[in-house]
């Protein structure tokens, strides 16, 4: 069993992993950059090692510094969390080479699933549906147009060599494809030095539904049901829930089965997620088409949603599996109960293009409410740094059904004051109250289409708010904070 675990991450996920270590009597070792000296993950870990300057490239993304920190602290294992180096095959290999247990799949599997083309090939061979598409041998305009005709429009033309939407063009009708093909080719050549194009059928207004899978070194592979993650802004998930409101039992079973087949095809070990697009354009139901999108070879940000509906501890299972133990569950022993929904609270300003915000947390009070779990890695008086992801906290509500879980999450967000930086809380509350969200029909384009209509419009400041501010500034602490400046009106709290 792992004895001392280095956590190669920061923030809420590092705190989450420390909690699991404590419960399992594993010593936790935090690492921190110069910007995180006093961060909660540093103060809560059993020990902490400084690894470099604030920029992530000098600290949380530096493989040599992390391996060195692990050796210096006597750790025997490394948990990468999510983000940073969690899906970096070279880091997993560097850990293995240094004799450290990497809490995740083997580096070869990370590399295999990290390549879109290879991942598609492997899962397709295992009988998992992928979005129909091809890289035609005939790369001429006419050859690409014929490929689109074979697939059926609407279709996407994109660079075969890369991602990030570079060179991506939508083709509504194969007859009008030539302009899209030529401009896509020019952009692909400019971005990747390779004008080879790939054509793919366009799934219109899809839902993003992913299945949590888990494998161990003893040939056990199972799934922990799905998460619906269609509420996303530019591919950044904002709200996640389980169960998905659009799956029938039959469709859920088909997708779970496909996810397990994909994981088995690569002899997957540890926690992973198979992401699918679900196409409801043919009417949905048991036989709705779904397609493999990609596999995430790590713990997901939204794993608490699965933990809440299954009652299981995914991080504990990760540590057991990494230690060579068998999975602590069987497929028949896991169940999906009630409903859980997570909102990601970000330091960002929805009224100015969701610009990330940095600044001090002047006031930060997490509500303590039944059915509410908050995973965070910040404290009042701390700082949201410009150097890292602006996520402040995840608020997860659990209840017996979706409507009650949404109500519970709404009340929790209304009771979660964060002052000193702008956050997306007012925006989240408007999303949670939107008819398309409430009826569960929001597809992956929902947030980007609604856009600024979900940002809170400017509001007049109510008089009672002014009264409370005036009262607040008459308090001794506030007066001291105002550094002796003369305040004309003093509200006497004890003499009303």
């Amino acid at each position: 069993m792992i004895k001392r675990l280095l956590i190669a991450n920061r923030g809420e996920i590092a705190v989450r992993i420390i909690r699991a270590c404590r419960e399992m009597d594993i010593e936790s070792v935090a690492v921190y950059s110069a910007a995180d000296n006093a961060a909660p993950h540093v103060t809560q870990a059993d020990r902490a090692v400084a690894i470099g300057a604030a920029p992530a490239s000098d600290s949380y993304l530096s493989i040599p510094r992390l391996i060195d920190a692990a050796k210096r602290s006597g750790a025997d294992a490394v948990h990468p969390g999510y983000g940073f180096l969690s899906e970096n095959a070279a880091f997993a290999q560097a850990c293995a080479d240094a004799g450290l247990v990497f809490v995740g799949p083997p580096s070869v599997v990370i590399r295999q699933m990290g390549s879109k083309i290879e991942a598609r090939r492997v899962v397709q061979a295992a009988g998992v549906p992928i979005v129909p598409g091809e890289t035609p041998d005939d790369q001429s305009d006419a050859g690409l147009r014929r490929a689109i005709e074979r697939l059926g429009a609407p279709a996407l033309v994109k660079a075969s060599a890369g991602g990030g939407g570079k060179g991506m063009r939508r083709v509504q009708d194969a007859r009008d494809a030539v302009d899209a093909i030529q401009s896509s080719r020019r952009e692909a050549e400019a971005a990747f030095g390779d004008g080879t194009l790939y054509v793919e059928r366009l799934v219109e207004q899809p839902h993003h539904v992913e299945v949590q899978v888990f494998g161990d070194a003893h040939e056990h592979t199972l799934h922990l049901f799905e998460r619906e993650c269609s509420v996303q802004r530019r591919h950044q998930k904002v709200i996640e829930e389980s169960p998905s409101p659009i799956l029938t039992d039959r469709l859920r079973a088909r997708m779970a089965d496909a996810a397990v087949r994909a994981a088995r095809a690569v002899r997957y070990q540890n926690a992973g997620t198979i992401e699918f697009l679900v196409d409801l354009s043919t009417g949905g139901g048991d036989n709705a088409p779904f397609y493999f999108l990609e596999m995430n070879t790590r713990l997901q940000v939204e794993h608490p949603v699965t933990e809440q509906v299954t009652g299981l501890d995914l991080v504990r299972a990760q540590l057991l599996v990494a230690s060579g133990e068998p999975l602590p569950w069987t497929q028949d022993s896991v169940h999906q109960r009630g409903h859980a929904i997570e909102a990601r609270v970000y330091a960002e300003d929805p009224s100015s293009g969701f610009l990330p915000q940095a600044g001090p947390l002047l006031l930060y009070r997490e509500p303590r409410l039944p059915g509410i779990r908050i995973d965070s890695g910040v404290v009042e008086g701390g700082e949201i740094s410009v150097h890292y992801d602006p996520m402040i906290a995840k608020v997860i509500a659990s209840a017996e059904n979706r409507d009650l879980a949404i109500r519970r999450l709404t009340s929790a967000l209304r009771a979660f004051p964060i002052l000193g930086v702008r956050t997306n809380v007012p925006f989240l509350l408007r999303v949670l109250d939107h008819p398309r969200f409430l009826d569960g029909t929001m597809d992956t384009g929902f947030l980007d289409r609604e856009g600024s209509s979900l940002a809170e419009p400017p509001r007049d400041i109510p008089e009672f708010i002014r009264a409370v501010v005036a009262y607040h500034n008459a308090q001794p602490a506030a007066q001291a904070a105002a550094s002796g400046r003369l305040t004309a009106a003093s509200w006497d709290p004890w003499n009303g």
């Binding site: 002052l419 002014r466 409370v468 501010v469 005036a470 500034n473 602490a477 506030a478 400046r485």
Partner: protein, 133 residues
């Protein structure tokens, strides 16, 4: 009469439309942050209350002025010209939003001018009482 009640640092309870609500405040009034029921307000809340007084009082001149922080009704003017007050004495009680707002003297001083009588309406920023040291 409703009152603002301090619950904890930066945390206040206030009755709004008959329901008890929490309001959170941080920062100086010139750049205050307020959270109420999922809404965030941010801005300079000092304009309506301290501009004039800061201009006159902070340079050690003889005369200081207390001004109204918001539109309100004068419930009780407790001082008259020539009267001595001690720092912290309540000199006038205002009412706004069904809340009673006592206003205290900032220093030991003598009342020079009283601008309002009981029952009168005052606008934000209006001088209420002027003092000489």
């Amino acid at each position: 009469m409703e009152r603002i009640e301090r619950i904890a640092a930066g945390t206040y309870a206030v009755n709004i439309d008959g329901r008890r609500q929490r309001v959170y405040v941080a920062g100086p009034s010139s750049n205050a942050w307020v959270f109420w029921n999922g809404h965030v307000y941010r801005g300079d809340f000092s304009k309506a209350s301290s501009r004039e007084a800061r201009g006159r009082g902070s340079v050690g001149q003889a005369r200081q002025v207390l001004t109204a922080p918001m539109p309100a009704t004068v419930i009780k003017m407790l001082v008259s010209p020539g009267q001595q007050v001690r720092k912290g004495d309540t000199v006038v009680v205002l009412e706004a939003m069904k809340m009673e707002l006592p206003i205290r003297a900032l220093a030991d001083a003598t009342v020079a001018v009283v601008h309002f009588r009981d029952g009168e309406l005052v606008q934000a920023d209006a001088p209420l009482v002027e003092f000489e040291e």
